[in-house]
């Protein structure tokens, strides 16, 4: 259980954040650089003192301005993985990992083997940090934080210094942590990719304020985040379950709107997937299309937003299950010509190849 409510003036902005999370999933704080994301987790870690508010993790009060409680960082039971890993350069990997282990269990305790094999650190134990790659450093940093048996894990853009390949590798490790260690994670990032793949909850930060907080899908499909994203990324984010998939096989995923086929191999049948359908890649038709393309959805136009040269059209897909939406972006000119209006019936098409570019398996 995480319950945070803090205020801290910092230079030109005032960081304010108030949120609570009941279970042990990954909470992602998302926002531009300087929006105050890192300040929030620094306050939770005790590296920055809020002006007022309270911080409670698993019924343990770490900070309370009214009760004059302010535990020092070492008493908070907080694991912190920094962007720059911050391994101790004078200690071997093994000693780095053991640094936070309580005296009684010099061998690293019960978790040692599990953490070691999960993060693949066996061959690195006797090396020194300057002989590790960026990805290896972060894996050691994660192991070191976990071995201190924290009540919560804080991660501040842990992949910012890594190249795309290493990111891909590390994200798999991180995604597995909550389930394996039953630990809540607060993860700071400004990369959309990482949110899609990791977030159970999302908090949006802008100019110091937490402007939206809630379950990932709800926040990721809110208007607040649309304004924070590059134009190209605007669209709808859905979750579903893989029905099939594998080498050289189209993946089929069932979601609220029916089925979607994606040109990606390697989906585990039964696995949870999350994907984005960019509004620019949705094609509309007034009649059931007969062109090539298998992801066709019938629905009703519920909203139209016109601005500048573009029109964004929200379509409610016919479905027996929960309501599912798609955004389609067309030019204002073609919108005018077709004479479409809210309430009209419409067919939306998504190319399989397009959909597959932002398709992520969840753990």
């Amino acid at each position: 259980m995480i319950n945070v409510n803090v205020t801290k003036p910092l230079g030109k902005i005032t960081v304010t954040a108030s949120f609570s999370v009941a279970d042990s999933g990954i909470t992602v704080l998302f926002g531009a650089s300087g929006a105050g994301k890192s300040s929030v987790i620094n306050m939770i870690a005790g590296l920055l003192t809020p002006k007022s508010g309270h911080i409670v993790i698993n019924k343990k009060t770490l900070f309370d301005s009214s009760g004059k409680i302010n535990l020092p960082p070492e008493k908070r039971g907080v694991g912190y993985v920094f962007q720059d890993s911050r391994l101790f350069p004078h200690l071997s990997v093994r000693k780095n990992m053991l640094y936070g282990v309580k005296k009684k269990e010099k061998d690293g305790g019960a978790d040692w083997e599990q953490i070691n094999s999960l993060l693949g650190l066996g061959g690195l134990l006797d090396r020194y940090p300057d002989k590790l790659s960026g990805g290896e450093k972060q894996r050691v940093a994660i192991a070191r934080a976990l071995l201190s048996q924290p009540d919560i894990l804080l991660m501040d853009e842990p992949m910012a210094a890594l190249d795309a390949f290493r990111r891909d590798e590390l994200i798999h490790y991180i995604a597995k942590l909550p389930a394996l260690f039953n630990i809540p994670i607060i993860y700071v990032t400004h990369t959309m990719d990482e949110i899609l793949r990791l977030a159970d909850y999302v908090g949006l930060m802008s100019d110091g304020a937490l402007i939206n907080f809630g379950p990932a899908l709800r926040v990721l499909n809110s208007n607040d985040i649309a304004e924070m994203l590059p134009e190209r990324d605007f669209g709808v984010i859905c979750e579903g379950r893989a029905l099939s998939g594998g080498e050289n096989e189209l993946g089929i995923v069932s979601f609220g709107g029916g089925h979607i086929e994606v040109a990606t191999g390697n989906l585990r049948a039964g696995g949870r997937v999350r994907f984005r359908i960019p509004a620019m890649d949705v094609v509309l038709s007034k009649t059931r299309p007969t062109t090539v393309g298998r992801n066709v959805y019938a629905g009703t136009i519920t909203e139209v937003r016109e601005r500048d040269l573009l029109a964004d059209i929200l379509i409610n897909i016919d479905s027996d299950e929960e309501s599912t939406h798609l955004w389609a972006r067309i030019t204002r000119l073609s919108f005018k010509e077709t004479g479409l209006a809210p309430g009209d019936r419409i067919y939306a098409m998504v190319k399989s190849v397009v959909a597959s570019s932002q398709f992520y398996e969840l753990y």
Partner: protein
């Protein structure tokens, strides 16, 4: 040539005394050096720049003035010296311990400066990382700050030692020039020069002083370099 390096007993005594004084001065002032180095590197408090200036004073005022102040404070009838003598029967006046005190005071700014710089160069991020791993301030200091600035601290210590060996003005003012007690290498050199025909002995002591100082500076520079290189 061999004759040249064969020191007379009194010269040998001066070298031995210099090393003892230097060693004692550095050992005695080391804990204070660590404390003030850390204080200046890691804490903010009112009067910090005043303290910094005060600690650097011995570097810029004439050593004779330092010696005179020590004489007033630690002489047997001095404010602190009288107290030490009456309560503990201990005195710095006119013995080698006084010479060590004079050397320690003179060399202290160099030691503090070097310790401070090497501690400032330790990434504070590493210290906060250690705190989040459950280490209190004291553990962080001994397991992170000290080891990461160790070679820099060592450089400061060696530098202070070298400076102690060269101490002259404060020593002769505070504890005089007593053979076998306070006559360190520079004082012995000075005494030789005062004697007719003492040039040869003076030249020998010069050579010894040069060699010790040179080795110390090389060591100090070596440690300082290693500190910079190791963890950058």
């Amino acid at each position: 040539m061999n004759e040249f390096f064969r020191l007379t007993p009194s010269e040998l005594e001066a070298v031995r005394l210099s090393l003892l004084v230097g060693f004692t001065a550095v050992t005695g002032s080391f804990p204070f050096g660590i404390f003030f180095g850390w204080l200046l590197a890691r804490r903010e408090f009112p009067g910090k720049s005043a303290l910094d200036a005060l600690l650097h004073l011995p570097l810029v005022i004439p050593p004779v003035v330092t010696g005179y102040i020590l004489l007033i404070l630690f002489g047997r009838r001095g404010a602190l010296g009288g107290f030490l003598y009456n309560i503990f029967g201990f005195t710095f006046a006119f013995n080698w311990k006084g010479a060590a005190l004079a050397s320690a005071v003179i060399a202290f700014p160099l030691m503090v400066r070097s310790i401070r710089i090497s501690m400032e160069s330790v990434d504070r991020g590493l210290e906060s990382a250690a705190r989040t791993l459950g280490a209190g301030r004291v553990k962080v200091f001994f397991t992170i700050t000290i080891p990461l600035s160790f070679t820099g601290i060592l450089a400061g210590v060696v530098m202070a030692f070298a400076r102690s060996l060269g101490e002259f003005g404060a020593t002769i003012t505070f504890v005089s020039n007593i053979p076998g007690e306070t006559r360190t290498l520079p004082l012995a050199l000075y005494s030789q020069l005062q004697m007719p025909g003492g040039e040869f002995g003076a030249a020998r002591l010069c050579a010894v002083a040069l060699i010790i100082a040179f080795i110390s500076m090389i060591l100090s520079e070596y440690f300082a370099r290693r500190n910079r290189k190791r963890y950058d």
